[in-house]
């Protein structure tokens, strides 16, 4: 059992993350203090939630490039609602952010489900449309912290058991996803739809509908993260989260979610996101210029996918007589 845990992808990855974490701790003991660990987790919360949503989409052989634009649009929308109607209750605003995010996600999903057009093209298009719509909505203006109500900014910062609500939201998302992806039919369908769409179809799974659900969930989470992002940085503008979709996909890829679909776990995905979070937080502490950050994360992605490609990724395809046959044919 222990051996299997260590040799599993998640095991290797968590050992690397922990080694990195404590390695930095040797240089600077403050880094591994409890409060700093909590703050690293809190920093990574938005990435974790978005990566979980993206994981569903990638599992079904799709990709969602519009998450960051969704974050920007929803963030701007709720910030402006808050600016003009500061007396509105927070629960209403959160509901609004979930609803708008879900709507934007559903647009992607409907195209993929009903028209069967490649998701990369659709989300490439909606990415620029949502980002442009953010500009139209705000006319290029910023919503600054003094224009936001106190509860709007305060909610994600409110601490329960010395962790901010933002972090608890990520914890809740992780638990919910872990349960759904392991024990609910709804969650298992994502694996079957992506692992072998034909088999899924014959066993009664509506693959297109499952893909729609994936985009819906990814969009809903993006909407929530839109509010959280704007509130956390206390500012909303058009370029919020610009290019963040690639970090989200990177978190999934590092965490072992296979881009060809059907393979990936919630735990891996979370560790993948934490990996990026720890690297980002550690660099300034070990005195590496922040300019190195981009190259390092690029290198890590490449190493992770090479490790993925050369190690036992065929375990899930054990049904085949020769587990390598399928991949070899596809690769050639």
């Amino acid at each position: 059992m222990l051996k299997r845990l260590i040799y599993s992808r998640e095991g290797v990855l968590s050992i690397i993350v922990l080694a990195m974490f404590f390695g930095v701790g040797v240089i600077s003991p403050d880094f591994i203090s409890l409060s700093n660990s909590v703050s690293i987790f809190n920093d990574t919360s938005i990435l974790i939630m978005l990566a979980l949503g993206q994981m569903l989409v990638i599992l079904t052989r799709c990709i969602d490039l519009s998450v960051a634009a969704n974050v920007a649009f929803t963030g701007m929308f709720v910030a402006m609602v808050n600016q003009y109607f500061p007396e509105l209750h927070m629960s209403l605003l959160i509901f609004l952010s979930l609803f708008i995010g879900a709507l934007l996600g559903a647009i992607n999903g409907l195209f993929v489900w009903l028209l069967k057009v490649p998701s990369i093209v659709i989300t490439l298009g909606t990415m620029s449309i949502y980002r442009g719509a953010t500009f139209l909505l705000s006319d290029g203006a910023w919503v600054n912290s003094h224009q936001m109500s106190e509860s709007f900014i305060g909610l994600p910062r409110y601490e329960i058991l010395s962790m901010p609500v933002l972090g608890w939201m990520a914890v809740a998302a992780i638990i919910l996803f872990f349960w759904a992806m392991k024990f609910s039919v709804w969650g298992r369908n994502f694996y079957s739809a992506g692992g072998n769409p034909m088999a899924a179809f014959y066993s009664g799974v509506n693959v297109g509908k499952v893909q729609f659900y994936a985009f819906l969930v990814s969009g809903t989470l993006s909407g929530l993260c839109g509010y959280l992002w704007v509130s956390r940085f206390a500012v909303a503008y058009v370029d919020v989260a610009n290019g963040f979709e690639l970090q989200v996909i990177a978190a999934c890829v590092i965490g072992g979610v296979s881009i060809v679909g059907g393979l990936g776990s919630v735990v891996g995905c979370v560790i993948g996101a934490l990996f990026i979070g720890v690297v980002n937080n550690a660099l300034p502490i070990i005195g590496v210029s922040p300019f190195w950050q981009m190259a390092i994360s690029g290198l890590v992605i490449i190493i992770a996918v090479i490790a993925n490609a050369t190690s036992g990724k065929d375990k899930a395809r054990i049904i085949l007589r020769n587990p390598n046959a399928n991949d070899e044919i596809r690769a050639n």
Partner: protein, 339 residues
Amino acid sequence: MDTTIKKSATPDSMFTSKLQGLLRWESFLVLIVFLVCVMNSYLSPYFLDPWNLSDATFNFTEKALIALPMAMLIIAKEIDISVAAIISLSSTLMGLVAQMGAPVYAVALVGILAGAACGLFNGILVTRFKIPSIVVTIGTMSLFRGISYILLGDQVVRDYPDGFEFFGQGYVYWVFSFELVLFAFFALVFYWLLHRTTFGRYTYAIGNNPTASYYSGIKVDKHRLILFTLVGVMSGVASILLTSRLGSTRPSIAMGWELSIITMVVLGGVSILGGSGTIAGVVLAVILMGLVTFGMGLLNIPGIVMTIIVGVMLITVVSLPVLITMYKTSLKRKEAKAL
């Protein structure tokens, strides 16, 4: 030799095949380009000025140069989203070489070599380790631009040798800029390569069925490697033009270009699933996007609003054929029911 396979030559089918030829995606693009021209010249009296039109070409020629090999790569079922990062890295290296006092040709050579090296690196990762190209190039996208940031930080390089500005700002004859002439030249080269050589035929074959191509003796991996390197080289060329036009280098150069380049390719009728598409279509899409952008610029529409229109165009282009087929099949079903 036409690229489409000739159908059996009964008079009736010949007529329909000709009709279908007219209804091709490319003819549709020509029509839209024409409409946009008419609309633009109606909306703004400055549109039809040759110098204005010439200025407008600068906005898209660099991207268009990359769209040509990208079209071939996508036809072969691969994709490269690291192109903008390659521009950044190659521009940075050119800047550093220029600072050391290298002559014009050496600076340009460094740009092209850097691009080729990046493309080759992508190709090796994809072919050697059998990793999907979208993941590889997401990684190298951060890596290449990241290296630029390591090398330059927040600095800007401005000292280029005399004569370097010709690439991006010079005119060859009257209103025809060096960039435009270079694009026309490469459009012909890639037309020849894709539609007139076995290399081009192999590209279609690989895109349609990699396994069958492999078993019929095409060196699939070598072919992919060449295509990735080609994309890298053209990104290097585009980087020379862009650096020379701006007269400066910084790591954030050409941010987000990969998306507009892929949009050009898809708008040109290249299937994102591989196997079909033409250079003529891509060139028309490039002209269309250039004209639309230019026309909206004349009307003082901000750039970010244009991205909405480009996004809508992209989605319409991929959805419309599907909707038409769905409509046709539903009609047929109704007919069958009526019978």
